[in-house]
Symmetry: C2
């Protein structure tokens, strides 16, 4: 029944902080919110086009950069209203889709060594992501006085806290499998 494209509010949220090109939006998604949200060019550009038609964003100025014309988008007041409506909407779709847990759940179909190996792989990925988030956290702590940064800081601490919980669980789970 449509019109639930989350990419719209993601873009609007980013533009509420600063004017950006579609290319920049992609980079922000990949870095800043990458650990809990994804987005590709194939969804960003069409969304920007649609939202411009709806008056939620505006093409601001264009320049040339890297040999290609550059379109900087700016959020309109209608766009801010739309964003706020979403922020005030109490329903939020939170979904975890962890193939690692699926493999663990079905671990009985293989030897326990395979299950342990899958936990170890997960552990390595978590450690890598954790290292990145810790750097983000350090940088954000220096600019906590700035309006939006305290929110960025909180999402980063969410990531760090949950990843740390994952690592503790990994250790326990491996020990459990080696014991049983």
């Amino acid at each position: 029944m449509g019109k639930d494209r989350k990419i719209d509010v993601v873009i609007l949220g980013l533009l509420a902080h600063e004017d950006l090109t579609g290319y920049d939006i992609k980079k922000r998604i990949d870095t800043a919110i990458g650990f809990f949200w994804k987005g590709s060019f194939g969804s960003i550009y069409p969304s920007l086009g649609d939202m411009e038609k709806q008056g939620l964003v505006q093409k601001k100025s264009s320049g040339v950069s890297g040999g290609r014309e550059k379109i900087i988008y700016h959020i309109t007041s209608a766009g801010r209203t739309f964003l706020k409506k979403w922020l005030n909407d109490e329903k939020a779709g939170n979904e975890l889709k962890y193939e690692t847990l699926l493999k663990l759940y079905f671990g009985g179909a293989e030897t326990s060594e395979v299950a342990v190996r899958n936990i170890e792989i997960f552990e390595e990925q978590v450690k890598e992501n954790l290292a990145i988030l810790r750097i983000y956290k350090e940088n954000l702590e220096k600019v906590l006085d700035k309006a939006d940064h305290k929110y960025y800081y909180l999402t980063v601490t969410f990531g760090i806290d949950t990843y740390e919980a994952y690592l503790k669980w990994c250790k326990k789970a491996r020990a459990f499998l080696e014991r049983h």
Copy 2:
């Protein structure tokens, strides 16, 4: 480039433990693995049909139950091989898609009260889910000797541990927002 339908291995994994109907598979997905995986009838029935053609599952026996004919599926040895191949594949797509974090990240576009409210809503949902997982855990502890159950137990403890970490973070985050 297709053929990456995870629903296939989910079904195969469930059938590796016991014979099931499509309807039963849906129930297992919703309850047992519901906190980290989803699946609808609209994906389950076509998957069963395709996998039967590929020889990964077999229609076992059919009876009548609840006024409608009932088709019980059984995993074949080719199905078990397929499942094991997936379990031994080192790549696993783990994705977190939390709209709550998105709203928090963009919290600067509204008052901090709205952000606090969204954290509280998240907190309530987590508490509800946690209560269910704790009951699962208690029940699983009684049958840990049975082969597959130790794997079920581990996924449940993963859920409990991360949800507990979420709740700690929620408390911290609310306090932070009220202080700053």
